[in-house]
Amino acid sequence: MTEVIRCNGLTRTYQDDGVPVHALAGVDFRVEAGEFVSLAGPSGSGKSTLLNCIGGLDRPSTGEVYVDGVSLGALSQSALADLRLIKVGFVFQSYNLIPVLSALENVEFIMQLQGVAAAERKERAHAMLDSLAIGEMWDRRPGELSGGQQQRVAIARAIVSKPVLLLADEPSANLDSKTTADLMELLLRINREQSMTIITATHDPAVMAYASRQVHLVDGMIESDQCADNAAS
Amino acid sequence: MIAWRNLWRNRRRTLFTAGGIAFACLLLMFSRSIQLGSYRGMIDAATDLLSGHVQVQHQDFLDDPRLEYRIGDAAALVASLGALPEVEMIAPRAQAFALLSVDEKGFGAQVLGVDPAAEQAISTLPGALSEGRYLQAGNEAFIGRTLARNLGAQLGDEIVILGSGPEGGVAALAVTLVGIFETGQAELDRALVEVPLDVFQAGFYLDDEVHQLVMKLASHTDVVGLSAQLGEQLPVGLVAHPWQALMPEVVQAIALDRISARLFYSILTLVVLFSIVNTFVMTVFERTREFGMMLAIGMHPWRLIAMLQVEAFWLALLGGILGCLLALAPLVWIIHWGIPMEGREEWTAGFAFPSHLKGAFDLWEMLAIPLVFIVGCQFSAFLPGLRVRSLQPVEALRAD
């Protein structure tokens, strides 16, 4: 199998009012293509920090991150932006859609930045929304959509350009349990049908249950890493 | 107190808004000072040159300066007026239009008979000397540069002055050119000649008679009032004219400048106040949720509005004080040293002007500027503040 992510000896230390906080205290971590990984652990365990380091949003204090064979430490801000644009799809906990754009335009936006031609863009965006069962909502703005619908648009935006990796930080934070279940079924389907590598950071057991591999972090270190027979399968 | 803290919650915005007010205050105070100073300079230069603050004349002389509209018993009147505490200086003058000739060339000019000593104290014309010396005594003449040129007259030349006496007879005097002046004012340089008063009186068949008693007052704040008071003490047939009546062009030039300056100041104030309204509109929108919370816990809308007004007051006060502090150094400079005016005649707009343009200070004029902004700010805050009244707590809390 191809290795998508490799982290060697990651540490990340913040200064919080002058007090050093060790968010990551030496993490070695690898993800193969097609895996569905759940990073779990209590608040402050470092799961979000690890996710952000992988996505190039945060830089580790020491250690190396390789995404698709590229070392992130050597990349400039601008190159990191391109990496996020092309190789990584993000889903944030509070959806973070562009408020002035419709569902379809939000999905198209990434492809516009990538320079995909208009006709192809539209077609792919429509197809993506259809496949996520929100095709009829295409012309609504985020403010006119429910939380679950917004999160679906966010997922559509994240995967429409076929990234090698989908990162989801607390995707269920603002959703009720029924919607969470629908959403996770969707991610699982994407993982299986498209062999998309997915990493979620969550402390919601309902989310963890869907992952094929569960990594537990405590105080910035990996406490357990196990492949699970996940309940949904 | 809450209002004061609120201001510091958005420090950058407060500083920018206060900075805008301060900038406008600084600018307005500085230009107001220059403006007041230039009026003072213009008035001083104009009154110092010839007219004085107040002139006593025959009641018809101002409208129709005829030789026969004269003041009798001049010496006694000079003595009694000069003794008044309000009068700092006094100088008598006689005046007539006459034809000046040197050899074959002849030109018309205004002839002034002056008391050389008194004239040197009261008028800056003797100081505008460009060649020769000022009058002392005897048959001497002090004439304008252009007139001298037109006559082709050199220092030491004999000038014949021909005019008509009070009864229509020919008045003639022969004087020696001792000095030439240059004021830069075409009318004076082209057509004015001064001779000693006694020479003038002898030549024009006058007794102890003059046409003007020129006075400088000890204080120039209420020239019109003092002039009216003086007028009451004068013999019948004589009147006292303040400089405003003698030189309406100066009064009008100042009035015109005041009007245009006011227009420009208003525009500037308007633009600054507009940006303050802007700031308050943003403040209210941004804090809709906070206001909703305050309304929800039972705060009366009017108290919220009052809070905004107090914020506006602090903001304007801050900007005003900052502006005053910033204005301090430039004001001290302009009032104390002033801008040298050599080679900047364009600023003086054709009026006689001192060598330095200095600022003037008037406490109320200066304080009025920050006050305008404080009042303006209250108004600026009130308009968007009205929105608070129509705010529904529940909706406000939900506002994004």
């Binding site: - | 034809l99 002849g106 037109n150 525009i267 633009v271 900047r344």
Partner: protein
């Protein structure tokens, strides 16, 4: 890097409408500032135009030919003659009117009083194209021809002399032989100029009549009025070629004080513009920073999903510039509208005596130059650009993670 301009424009346009209340405020602040700048600019420019007109029509013309030494000693001895059938040779389209005059200092006497004046011998038909007489109110008659042996007096002078239309006055001046001449003239008319100063100085009569009195064929000046003030230096140069001994001067050389005031008007426009723009900038930057800071989160997200920082700045700048452009465009239009409302002029006759020193006339007509409008537009946009780049740049300095946590 390919810039997805359409996407940015679309995003900007929608964002403007999303925050329309604030943007309307911002827009109106620019509108007020720009329109008042245009108005003030047109008033100053109007004053400048008028100043030029006043100076040129006060017998100066744009360009004048004088005998050497005339300025120092303005007598008929410093005169010259034009060749028969002379016509000024200028580039086509430059010359508006021209005339030759005899101007000498003299004395005017009535039964009542005596005054020193400038005696001006003119060709009346030419003068109507050249000088302030064209706009002056005339009581009685205008001079009929260059041979007219009557005089035209200013109202202020006529009053002082206690004379009037049809009455006789005596003129005295020095003839070409250096001896004084005296001659009686009848008053044809009395003129009322915009400002009293001219009325007291100039006494007009027929050119040939004055030449006859002075016993000369010569003139003291050739005065030219041009269509455009900008041509004067060139006109002067071309004119100089036709004269060997005579001196050719432009109005600004003859009237240095007026010339420096004329230049001062240019400076005043720039000073005023800078003051207004600085005052506006405080509010502008304030609003733009707030607008950007409010969206730090959104901008952080855009960068998190892979938008280049440069593009984020560009998007914010486009957004601000759209408002600024709209504000400036409408501000200029509103300013032009104000100016049109004042096209009939502002009556200053209340201050008639005071305006002479400023070379004004009693009616101030605002004047707009296209170049001024372009300057205002260009500088306002530059101000707007500077005021919007800075907040956008600041916003991008915040790391996306931190921005999204806000």
């Amino acid at each position: 890097m390919k810039i997805p301009l359409r996407t940015l424009l679309q995003l900007s346009w929608r964002n403007i409408w999303r925050h329309r209340r604030r943007n309307i405020m911002l827009f109106s602040a620019i509108l007020v500032a720009v329109s008042t700048v245009v108005l003030a600019n047109s008033l100053i420019r109007g004053w400048q135009v008028q100043m030029l007109d006043t100076v040129v029509t006060s017998l100066n013309g744009h360009v004048k030919v004088l005998a050497p030494g005339y300025l120092d000693d303005p007598s008929i001895e410093r005169a010259f003659q034009l060749p028969g059938g002379y016509k000024p040779a200028l580039a086509p389209g430059q010359l508006r009117a021209w005339t030759s005059r005899v101007v000498v200092p003299g004395v005017i006497l009535s039964e009542r009083d005596t005054r020193g004046v400038q005696l001006v011998g003119v060709d009346p038909a030419d003068e109507l194209q050249m000088s302030f007489l064209a706009d002056a109110q005339i009581e009685g008659e205008f001079l009929a021809s260059a041979d007219d042996r009557r005089v035209l007096l200013g109202a202020a002078l006529a009053e002082r002399l206690n004379t009037g239309v049809g009455r006789r006055i005596v003129l005295m001046t020095q003839g070409s032989d250096g001896r004084n001449r005296e001659s009686g003239f009848r008053v044809a008319g009395v003129y009322r100029a915009a400002t009293g100063g001219l009325e007291k100085v100039f006494v007009f009569t027929g050119r040939a009549a004055l030449q006859q009195m002075l016993d000369t064929q010569a003139i003291t000046e050739l005065s030219l009025r041009l269509h455009s003030n900008g041509d004067r230096a060139q006109a002067r140069q071309q004119l100089q070629q036709g004269f060997s001994g005579e001196e050719v001067s432009t109005w600004d050389e003859l009237q240095p004080q007026a010339a420096s005031m004329f230049e001062f008007a240019d400076v005043a426009i720039v000073i005023w513009f800078s003051i207004m723009m600085t005052a506006l900038a405080f509010g502008l930057i304030n609003t733009l920073i707030t607008a950007v800071m409010e969206r730090v989160r959104e901008l952080g997200m855009l960068r998190a999903i892979g938008m280049q920082p440069g593009l984020v700045i560009l998007q914010v700048v486009i957004e601000s510039l759209m408002i600024v452009i709209l504000g400036v465009a409408l501000g200029i239009s509103l300013g032009v509208f104000f100016v049109q409302q004042l096209a009939d002029g502002i009556d200053l006759s209340q201050w008639a005596a005071g305006i002479e020193g400023y070379y004004m006339s009693t009616l101030l007509i605002p004047s707009l130059l296209l170049s001024d409008l372009l300057l205002v537009a260009a500088l306002s946009l530059l101000f707007g650009l500077l005021a919007s780049v800075w907040p956008a740049w600041r916003a991008v300095q915040v790391q996306p993670l931190e921005a999204m946590r806000r």
